[in-house]
Amino acid sequence: MGFLLETLIAGLMAGVLYALIALGFVLIYKASGVFNFAQGAMVLFAALTMARLQDHMPWPLAFLLAFGLMVVLAWLIERLVLRHLVNQSGVALLMATLGIAYFLEGLGQLVWGDDIYRIDLGLPKQPTVVLSGLIPGGLLLSREDLIATLAAALLVALLTLFFQKSDVGRALRAVADDHQAAQSIGIPLSRMWVIVWSIAGLVALVTGMIWGSKLGVQFSLSLIALKGLPVVILGGLTSVPGAIVGGLIVGLGEKLAEVYLGPMLGGGIESWFAYLLALGFLLLRPQGLFGERIIDRV
Amino acid sequence: MDEWPADRSENTSTFPWLLLQHARLQPSGVAWREKNLGVWQCTTWVQALDWVRHLAYGLAALGLQRGEHVAIIGENRPRLYAVMLAAQSLGAIPSALYQDAIATELAHPLELTAMRFAVVENQEQVDKLLSVREALPLLEHIVFHDPRGLRHNTAPGLRSLDEVEALGRHHQALRPELFEQAVAQGQPHDVAALFFTSGTTGLPKGVVHTHASLIDRARAGAAVDRLTAREDVLAYLPAAWIGQNIFSYAQHLVCGYTVNCPESPSTVAIDLGEIGPTYYFAPPRVFEALLTDLQVRMDDAAGFKRWLYRASITLAERAQAECDAGSRPALRDRLLLPLAKALILAPLRNRLGLSRVRVAYTAGEAIGPELFRFYRGIGINLKQLYGSTETAVFVCMQPDGGARSDSVGLPAPGVELRVSESGEIVLRSAGLLREYYRNPEATAEVLDADGWYHTGDAGWIEPDGQLRIIDRVNDVSRLADGTLFAPKLIENKLKFYPSIKEAVAFGAERAHVVALLNIDFAAVGNWAEKRALPYSGYADLAAKPEVLALLADCVAQVNTDLAADARTAAVQVRRFVVLHKELDPDDEELTRTRKVRRRFVAQKYAELVDALYDPARQSQRTQVQVRFDDGRTGSVQADLQLVGTKVQPALHQAA
């Protein structure tokens, strides 16, 4: 009983982080209709920036500076890339994001170096035991993971609220739906793109911080984004709630599979289970759980 | 039933007097709620009184006199109800007219009562009145509620209610005592309102009611159902209809409950859900439409959900039938019922907007037994009542625990009722009309010297004391072989089928019965789409052989049903035709309350009916006049198939 609960909680905590990564994809896809291949590179770049800045200043300040840099980056991307690709085909945009990805990976390592760096957020490392009154032995939880999960969950909640309820969120959805009509009512496309890429930058930064503080900041961090792929396939590329539910399903699924199927199939299920799930979904329901239409641009 | 408690001190009451009382006794109680700009806005009784006062001063300043009539035309709006109260405060007589009537139909009542004032909702109504103004030289003032599209209209005598209110505020300051004086002058036996019956024949007649007659019936009804000031009512039927007046005006003022006005006619279903009325009235037609809509939707649902729905409804109907019959449902049903309630019935009631309903009534037409059983089954206290414009609604009411689909209830408190030798129902009560406006001949036809009112309805009193109506006395006739033929009985059975919207049966002095049918466009359209049956419009759909076969099945089932009773076995429908257009009030085929004008239809489609009786004919070419929404007329023609149906031998021999 206690073990099952621990597995479930671990799954949900991983799920929240996956949801965060997926949200980065969904935001950009909704606003500009392009699947952002650079999301992983952005995670790496943001984490590197954060890690190196942290050597010189307390982490909250480093965080703010790093976020500032991501906003500048978003502005540059809009100026130098997106603006010139208005009304171009989806493939052209996709290629552009691939280019951005390589550029960022190169730039990050060029500027910040290619060692393994640490991000230290000063979170408590020792685990804690909860609910010992209810369950014999209680539940053993990592406090670091718990705080990271709560932070990620908070960000997801804020972004959802922002998208659904705020006027800018509405404008972003409008842009996603129809560029021409959005322009005709005075929604400035370029500003919307800067905003949405900045938010994606923020998501990348938080993702990079959380994973970076656990695993260290290194090139493999950019592969974290690949975990977002099965999630968006599950949840649908156009749906914010889909990203959240998809993330939770993937997180839970792979932990449960690891624990209960692992002994039968051999370990390492965690690394491929999500893709199997996504493959199943692609066959049965290609638009995802909450998706609005068949994805035609990926 | 308990004796209705004697009317205490309130014999002197009039509607404005009741308003003053509520403003004093429950000042912050909500009198009206109206959804405006997406938000429900409340008017308390004190605010209502202020409003009425301003309007009364304004109308008085424009010269409204005691005893004169004021036309009120529009959807249900608190301000229009306030105008009615304001007019009554001054001793004038408000007369609500049907807002969907065309201009020429509006002209008759205005001319008859020499109206100088018309208070209307919006541009649409103003345009109608202006278009017939030349024929109404007396009509001086047209006052509108919604200024949209009218700001630049300079027609003489046209002004907004806002202006009238402002004028009223000004005059109130000059003579603050005038309003109370005017109200005090009003007497219960003054005329309170004039209603126009949508009569199935001839021009509408004005039915004169006094404060006393309306308040008497409103109180009688309120006593039977123990209505309180906490009821919520949704005012969504035409204010010109006396039922609406009783539920949203007379009883509103008698009980002091809240009347809620929908945002627009198209949002009634949404508003119903948001308000959740506790006291609800709908004609069978509305209940039927709700159920048809529901069935269409359930047909689209997934298999399991559909099964669960059917099982729950069957179970609930069975259990309710047991309860209504005074016995306990079987143990298994009692155990399963809470489950059905939680899974299907409660969500269903909620979806219909009827989850808070404590008392629901239907009247006006007979309700199909299946329909009645359904609503009672899902837990709505649906009952029937009997009454008319002339009787201020409450003549008979079913008590809680005495609801049945084939009867209309026990005589309400204060009603003396009997069946005359000719089989007609006659009654006496304090709620009867005073007279038909300027029509002593018509008055004499229905009110005899002893004060008995002749309803024109045929029926009898059942052993348990409930009244049963079979048809209009004039419509009941006999087949050529002398069998009793009550067309409504057959039509009602036909109309229960979701595919059939309207049915008119013929058989008087004929060898057998035939019928004209209207398909229900929504239901049959859905049915056709599911079968990938293409159609281009109403007429095309109505003529499809597949649709004719579908309706033939319905008719055959009705015939089986009729054959089960010896009294009706001979009136099975032998042939029918499906009309290529909907029967429509604009073409005078239905009344504004959507009752079939039988004689008119018989005349208009005489050729078609004759063809139905001619066995040699398989189809008939027909051409009819229609009036479009913009007032233009045109004609539509079609070749209609005459369809024969299966007839069953009588199951039981007459005892």
Binding site: S166, R170, D177, I185 | G38, D127, H152, T267
Partner: protein, 285 residues
């Protein structure tokens, strides 16, 4: 394509309402809101507009008619800043932009509806029209994200404007429904509502009645007349159904193959021999 051009059929059900311009005459009628001078526009070798020029007065309903391919939509797109003319100038509200573009047009108070529906189909009717208020929203990003007081108050104020429009267009029953799920005629109304939410000085309607049945057309005509009366908006509308236009508009511009062939009151235009020729020509085609 065969057009339903009925030169004789000008007396529709709307005639009663065309008496209204007298009321508008109280405003300065000689005041020109929009002036186009010698507009030339071409795409590759195709000359879409060749030296078109006319003006639109404040408060008037101005129609642009012409057979398909006459350049009507191109002209609208020039005014809205979607296309840049190769020659000629657009003067709006006393100002001459160096280069008109859609964002500028929106800021100056030019709104438009679309011939082919361009609603935000996944968003509710309410959100579609609220989006039309974008230019009028003032609160910062953070305040909105956190739903702070001023942002909430602003939202409520904007919502009130939008609710008035929902009431005006009689679409209360569909507020919460996704715009894409509505029937065509209703979507057209939502499109109009979204444009009106900008509170524009000039409203461009690109074939507002295309694809509608008679009843929907009549509704739309009523809304167009009411827009002018209620909001004082100046309207420019494109139609190729001449009957509708003649009843609705104060002055009519007729285009044919990118050239302006007539400009004047409906009666004058109807009588113009070149217009008759252009239309009969296209009918015969």
């Amino acid at each position: 394509m065969n057009h339903t051009m009925r030169l004789s059929d000008a007396t529709g059900p709307f005639h009663a309402k065309t008496a209204e311009p007298q009321a508008i005459a109280a405003e300065p009628c000689d005041d020109v809101l929009l002036e186009l001078l010698d507009i030339h526009l071409g795409f590759g070798g195709i000359k879409a507009l060749q030296g078109v020029g006319f003006d639109v007065r404040r408060g008037e309903i101005r129609a642009i008619i012409g057979p398909n391919g006459a350049g009507k939509s191109s002209l609208l797109n020039v005014v809205g800043g979607v296309y840049q003319p190769q020659r000629g100038s657009v003067r709006f509200d006393g100002r001459n932009p160096a280069r008109m573009h859609p964002a500028l047009a929106a800021r100056w108070g030019i709104a438009r509806t679309f011939q082919n529906l361009a609603l935000f189909s996944g968003m509710s009717v309410l959100d579609n029209i609220m989006a039309g208020r974008s230019l009028h929203m003032r609160c910062g990003l953070l305040a909105q994200a956190l739903r702070l007081g001023p942002a909430l108050r602003e939202e409520i104020a904007q919502r009130e404007v939008v609710e008035h429009l929902i009431d005006f267009l009689e679409i209360q029953a569909w507020r919460k429904q996704p715009a894409g799920s509505l029937p065509y005629g209703l979507q057209k109304r939502v499109d109009l509502g979204r444009a009106l939410a900008m509170q524009p000085k000039l409203l461009l309607l690109d074939e507002p009645m295309a694809g509608m049945n008679q009843e929907e057309k009549e509704d739309m005509c009523r809304f167009i007349l009411d827009v002018r009366e209620e909001f004082g908006t100046t309207l420019v509308l494109i139609e190729h159904d001449m009957g509708v236009v003649m009843d609705l508009s104060d002055r009519v511009v007729v285009l044919d193959y990118g050239r302006l062939i007539a400009d004047g009151t409906p009666d004058a235009v109807r009588a113009d021999p070149e217009v008759v020729r252009a239309y009969l020509g296209s009918d015969a085609a």
